[in-house]
């Protein structure tokens, strides 16, 4: 099943000007100073975080001793239909932010400071990171980052100044950063400086949960080569590369803006990606050798890469497709055993692809063709949203009993079996239990509102509604008492709602039809409205009561929330009052306090705070949980090292063919 990821940045990207977002972060930054009794340095590991140290030999995906590797082989990876990479500069704006540009393209060449996901396990992987574990001191107000010894492909070392370069560009061009949230990074950094050749120190505006700060704020940093610190291409040649300028303009905001402007313009010229001396300076395991107009990207190993996961392949090729059918057709042709040694010019084939969700029943055929199939579930959850600010439905959605009744109508196991072809994980919590992760507690795996039409009817009847299907359920006891319908609901009001969802995804289509059908059994009339994804994105947004934008009632994105690049499963971006991801405008002081605690708790109390938040949201239902879809990925049977990254980062450097 093809996963449509709704990453945090996709939410915030186009709306950084919205004041509500600032309010959300303001809750963190403006809070009272936490009473601390001792100053102590603490690393995330000491504090019991989700750290998973790994060495190349320990890694499940690294080549194993004794494997008979095929030397000089090429692997071909299938891009999503009509979504080739089109932006190379890591400081990416919302207009270009996409999985295809960031997780499948840029990170192959330009490594983030901290690498997240150890194979399929969520959490930071310091073994693969450019930085050592950050050290938090002064009541978690000061962060000290020490870089490992790494170098750029032009021979210069990755240094503290490269990190400062990134932060300088970010501060001067924050509106152009897809992940920027007012009040968040870098606004919450009072000062920053390089204290040594490989050491950077950040002073924060208050104490923060070190795990949260590492996972959600430091996770945004990508060191940039100082050769990019320029406002023109003067001095750069294809033969001799691009030297580091003697004067570095990024130190001043005006200069940083000019540098960004220059690099952004360069990044828009796709035809020069493989030849521009700027982009050829990489610190990741791969260099781009070719990018065609159709979107075929060919990578070769960065010979100067000195990280722990050096590529085993001679060439890695990303193949563009115009449709899922085209991808399936090529997949169905079968791979060449042993990988292709012919490089980019050989006959098309897919070494690593995906099985379109409606073709999942063909799994046996594809296995017979020579593929190994594996389900992949990114770390996140799926949901659909009630609009609490809708003038007619809002008062009903604000009643917890109604949300509980409605959640009882979502048959998650049934949907997974019937519509997701078995490729789905049930969602019961904002800190999901699956895939296995170190954040969720035992409660996350239990469903407080299991599928039961009878339970839904019982709850509604107990709160002043006449439930007599197929007639539409009607409020007969308006009022504020516990057995009444609740404030804002008038006598005779009916449970009629519109449910908007994107077209084109069969499992969403079918699940929504089932929900409509089941809801009818409880007397709830749902009118289904299929819309294009663009319309959905435009219409299902936070709105102020009384405005035309608030006309939507129930909205389904058709996309799961994936924790990347904010990897810590706290809820400040989706459930806090005023947060941009809180499109249904849910508001609860209790939940807001619990969310704030997850971002500010000291590390030794972080898990307790996270559990308290997760269990409150799990039962309060600010949205309606639905199964998270997975992807059935296909790998040539002798292609190894393909364990997918928990957040969806593409890691072909771990891949290798066996004979």
């Amino acid at each position: 099943m093809t996963v449509r990821m709704r990453r945090l940045t996709a939410v915030v990207a186009c709306a950084t000007l919205v004041a509500g977002c600032g309010a959300a972060r303001g809750a963190h930054t403006g809070g009272a100073t936490q009473a601390r009794t001792a100053t102590r340095a603490r690393t995330a590991t000491q504090a019991g975080t989700a750290t998973q140290a790994r060495t190349a030999t320990q890694a499940g995906s690294a080549a194993r001793a004794g494997d008979n590797l095929t030397a000089g082989a090429s692997a071909y990876w299938a891009e999503q239909p009509l979504q080739p990479p089109n932006y190379i500069f890591p400081l990416i704006s919302g207009a270009y932010y996409s999985n295809e540009n960031v997780y499948d393209f840029q990170t192959l060449m330009y490594r983030p400071l901290y690498w997240f996901g150890s194979n399929d396990q969520p959490g930071v992987d310091y073994a693969l990171s450019l930085g050592n574990q950050p050290v938090y001191s002064d009541h978690d107000r000061v962060v000290t980052i020490t870089l490992k010894r790494a170098r750029w492909s032009n021979g210069t070392r990755v240094s503290a100044r490269d990190v400062i370069f990134w932060i300088n560009l970010l501060k001067a061009n924050r509106a152009d950063w897809a992940s920027y949230v007012p009040g968040g990074f870098p606004d919450n950094v009072i000062s920053y400086r390089a204290t040594g050749r490989r050491t950077v120190q950040l002073r924060l505006n208050r104490s923060y949960n070190p795990i949260w700060f590492t996972d959600n704020e430091l996770s945004q940093i990508t060191p940039l080569p100082l050769a990019w610190d320029r406002t023109s291409a003067g001095g750069c040649t294809e033969a001799h590369g691009c030297p580091t300028p003697t004067a570095l303009p990024d130190a001043k905001p005006a200069g940083a803006r000019a540098v960004y402007s220059f690099l952004n313009a360069q990044a828009k010229d796709l035809s020069t990606y493989a030849t521009n001396p700027l982009w050829r300076i990489v610190d990741g395991p791969w260099k781009l050798a070719q990018l065609t107009a159709a979107g075929r990207a060919t990578f070769v190993p960065n010979q100067r890469y000195d990280g722990p996961d050096r590529p085993h392949l001679a060439r890695f090729v990303e193949l563009p497709f115009t449709s899922e059918t085209a991808e399936l057709t090529l997949l169905d042709a079968g791979p060449t055993r042993g990988g292709s040694a012919g490089g980019g010019g050989s006959a098309p084939q897919i070494s690593a692809g995906y099985v379109p969700d409606t073709a999942v029943p063909q799994a046996p055929v594809l296995r017979a063709r020579g593929y190994r199939l594996a389900a992949f579930y990114p770390y996140g959850f799926d949901y659909f949203e009630p609009n609490f600010n809708n003038p007619t439905a809002g008062p009903i959605f604000r009643q917890l009993y109604f949300r509980q009744a409605f959640q009882h109508l979502v048959d998650q196991p049934g949907w997974i079996h019937a519509y997701y072809q078995g490729l789905g994980l049930p969602t019961y919590s904002p800190v999901p239990a699956q895939p296995a992760n170190p954040y969720a507690d035992a409660q996350a795996g239990t469903n407080p509102y299991p599928f039961s039409v009878a339970a839904a009817r019982r709850i509604l009847r107990a709160h002043g509604w006449r439930v007599n299907p197929p007639a539409v359920t009607t409020c007969i006891h308006p009022g504020h008492a516990l057995t009444d319908c609740g404030p804002g609901i008038r006598r005779g009001q009916q449970l009629r709602f519109t449910l908007m969802y994107p077209d084109g995804m069969s499992y969403t289509d079918n699940a929504m039809v089932d929900l409509q059908s089941v809801a009818r059994e409880a007397g709830i009339a749902l009118t289904l409205e299929q819309r294009t994804t663009a319309t959905i994105d435009a219409e299902i947004e936070p709105c102020k009561p009384g405005t035309a934008a608030c006309s939507w009632q129930l909205g389904q994105y058709g996309a799961a929330w994936v924790f990347a690049p904010d990897h810590y499963p706290s809820g400040e971006e989706i459930f806090q009052t005023g947060a941009l991801g809180n499109v249904g405008s849910y508001s609860s002081r209790r939940i807001d306090r619990l969310i704030e605690a997850t971002t500010t708790a000291p590390a030794n109390d972080a898990q307790r705070a996270l559990n308290a938040y997760a269990n409150a949201v799990r039962t309060q239902l600010p949205d309606f949980w639905q199964p998270s879809p997975g992807t059935l990925e296909s790998f040539q049977s002798n292609l190894r090292g393909t364990t997918p990254n928990a957040y969806g980062y593409l890691t072909p450097e771990d891949w290798y063919f066996t004979r």
């Binding site: 019937a418 039809v513 059908s517 299929q530």
Partner: protein, 273 residues
């Protein structure tokens, strides 16, 4: 006329097919009872069996029953569009042709302008901003389909208005409405009937196209195009019963209506004979 029509083998075949389809859609549910509003998660994608002669679809709906329900919508939309579009087009074309002069030029430039709009794009655009319902689809398809009848009737009117009986009626003081309704349109009836027949076929095809593209009436309303749209997702999985029956019904219905239309034209068009 009826004798001439019955001599057309293709016309009779078409008429028989349409009659059978109408009977299948409107009388079939009396014999084969199914629930086409309540999905059944336990019955998804079942192969044909005694209980479900054409199997079930991805939501557990009985495909045979859904064909009948979808056919009802298709035929209703087709007939409604045929009547509305032909009526509107006839009135517009007759008025333009009879009046002549600047008004005629203006009215026909309106027709030309609207004809230049690609109807399917207009329909898809509208479907993306409002949720299509059956009445809305009838209205919109009709508004985009009256142009061809308008041109046909106008050209017919240009011929008829010079005929003696029209001249006599106008000399006797008949106004334009009376001239159109009593003298022009009755004499253009053959053209109108043929046009209406083709309009029905076209409307069924447009509805199927829109539904196939996902812009049809919202679930759980059944349409043949919608069934085809949903079924093609599973074609490679071997669920043929979710694709071919709906496709066959669309082809047969449209072909039959075209055969009837052709036969009627041959019957009514004296010059062609």
């Amino acid at each position: 006329m009826s004798r001439a029509f019955t001599r057309s083998r293709t016309g009779v075949t078409g008429l028989a097919a349409i009659t059978l389809i109408a009977g299948f859609c409107f009388l079939g549910p009396l014999l084969h009872h199914t629930d086409q509003t309540q999905a059944n998660i336990a019955l998804t994608n079942l192969a044909p069996s005694a209980a479900h002669p054409l199997g079930t679809d991805a939501n557990g709906y009985d495909v045979l029953g859904r064909l009948m329900a979808g056919g009802q919508i298709s035929l209703e939309v087709g007939l409604a569009v045929g009547v509305l579009a032909t009526g509107l087009g006839a009135a517009w074309g007759a008025l333009a042709g009879l009046t002549g002069g600047a008004l005629d030029a203006l009215m026909m430039r309106v027709v030309d302008t609207l004809l230049a709009l690609p109807a399917i794009f207009v329909l898809i655009y509208l479907a993306t901003v409002v949720q299509p319902t059956v009445p809305l689809l009838v209205a919109v398809i009709s508004l985009l389909s009256w142009l061809a009848p308008a041109r046909l009737v106008r050209s017919q009117t240009l011929t008829l208005r010079t005929r003696e009986f029209v001249t006599a009626a106008r000399a006797a003081g008949a106004g334009q409405p009376r001239t159109i309704t009593r003298h022009i349109l009755p004499n253009a009836a053959g053209t109108l009937i043929v046009a209406a027949t083709f309009q029905v076929a076209d409307a069924i095809l447009i509805l199927a196209t829109l539904s196939f593209l996902g812009f049809g009436p919202a679930p759980p309303t059944a349409t043949w195009g919608g069934m085809l749209y949903q079924g093609t997702s599973y074609l490679l999985d071997g669920y043929w019963w979710e694709v071919y029956p709906a496709g066959v019904m669309i082809v047969v219905a449209v072909l039959a209506l075209n055969l009837v239309g052709d036969a009627l034209r041959d019957t009514l068009d004296v010059q062609a004979r």
